[in-house]
Symmetry: C2
Subunit: 257 residues, 2 copies
């Protein structure tokens, strides 16, 4: 694996790399302790719509996990996101998505064109993230004998549920800010095939994920252990303390190392 860029953040290495999947270059990043040697717990993170692989919420937790627990974290720019589009395209998308999640956009949050695009990108993401997992598990400082967790909310759930359903290497998953929609039967089927422990965070006044849709997705998971955390507020208002709950959840399930 060739690193295209490397940066140190408070004792943690942030290394950019790229993989080739289906003729496309997929920009990825891994964070791990500077002096990492030997296998370790791995977290795969999926960013939200209009965000990118190093979005602050992902990067800050990746750094924290490396510092506190010695874990590695990986993320990729999703199809149509990050370094896979121009800066102008990213800015336009951020405005569109921002208006939608704040409830300021006209029309439905997800029309059929957008549903179709999400489904297609999700299928690509599943293949790409599997390849990313293959690549980093081949590293001595990651390996494949320790636990793997998944975290992703919003688009990170829309893509993450099919990914986790298709990926037996994931041991536990945090999802949220998403629901089951008419016309997305593949999501229901994917959720119904997930049996690993799941924590599902949900915002009660989310402009893009109605309550009933969120509860339907929570209900669809086949996991014996699944927790839904409902908090007041909109799509961008997840309380800070849920971050601690995610850490506790990941520690509980990946602490066998």
């Amino acid at each position: 694996m060739n690193y295209t860029k490397e940066k140190e953040i408070d004792g943690v290495l942030q290394r950019d790399f790229a993989i080739e999947v289906g003729g496309e270059t997929v920009p990825c990043v891994i964070w791990l302790p500077k002096d990492a040697s030997g296998s370790r717990t791995l977290i795969v993170m999926g960013h939200g719509g209009s965000q990118h692989k190093k979005t602050p919420g992902i990067r800050s937790r990746a750094v924290e996990y490396a510092q506190r627990f010695g874990w590695a974290t990986i993320a990729a720019d999703a199809p149509g996101h990050g370094d896979r589009i121009t800066r102008e395209e990213a800015e336009r998308m951020a405005q569109e998505v921002g208006a939608r999640v704040r409830g300021e956009a006209a029309g439905p949050a997800f029309d059929s064109d957008r549903m179709k695009q999400m489904a297609e990108r999700g299928q690509k993401a599943v293949v790409e993230w599997k390849a990313m997992l293959d690549a980093v598990q081949a590293l001595d400082e990651v390996g494949n004998d320790k636990g793997v967790g998944y975290w992703g909310v919003s688009m990170g759930t829309a893509f993450g549920v099919p990914f986790v359903a298709a990926e037996p290497r994931i041991d536990c998953a945090i999802f949220g800010l998403a629901g089951l929609r008419e016309g997305a039967n593949y999501m229901q089927e994917a959720a119904a095939s997930i049996t690993i422990p799941v924590e599902f965070v949900f915002q009660w006044e989310d402009a893009v994920a109605p309550r009933e849709a969120g509860i339907a997705l929570f209900n669809a998971f086949a996991s014996k252990e699944k927790s839904m955390h409902i908090n007041p507020g909109g799509h961008l208002d997840i309380p800070d303390f849920e971050r601690d709950a995610w850490t506790a959840f990941l520690c509980r399930h990946l602490a066998r190392d």
Copy 2:
């Protein structure tokens, strides 16, 4: 305050005492570190239907909080419970409540007679628990200058919501395993007057608290910070990890000491 009984449990004192309220003797208990001196964080716990003030779930957490954080915890036998009834009455009630929460009882979980009895006992409990709080805050080793948290699920919520609504000394509250029912408008009004942080734990297949009723109670709290934790399973199946979530919640809100 006169202690009627005292026992040491791994460095923690468990002291029984009684208060007189409205001509009735209310059996109470306080747990605190053996060498406690000076004021400290206080937790008020309300037990479930058919249980008593030293029910294992309460006692074990009271001991843990004293050991780990130096907190004091108090609980009272609710009206019609614990040492306020005979052993035979307690056993009969435990069987009745057990059948109800396991979904094995015939008829509705709460008929109008039972609703009326719960409302009356709840009113008494509010007065008694206020008096209990007065009594222990007069102790040097508790005082009234530190935070006070409330924990109570099931009947501990049915009585706890009116108590917390009426008690400005409570800084944060954990409720659960209960819902808003037709004919219990006082619960809705009490919940609507609660603005302190609330954590609300709920079981998704609870035979005595339907989903819609639980969500309605969660919605009724006026608190800006409120979290609902939904888990699969019945009334008796709260996962162990929720205990850690309660501890984290209490620490977050009472750590100003």
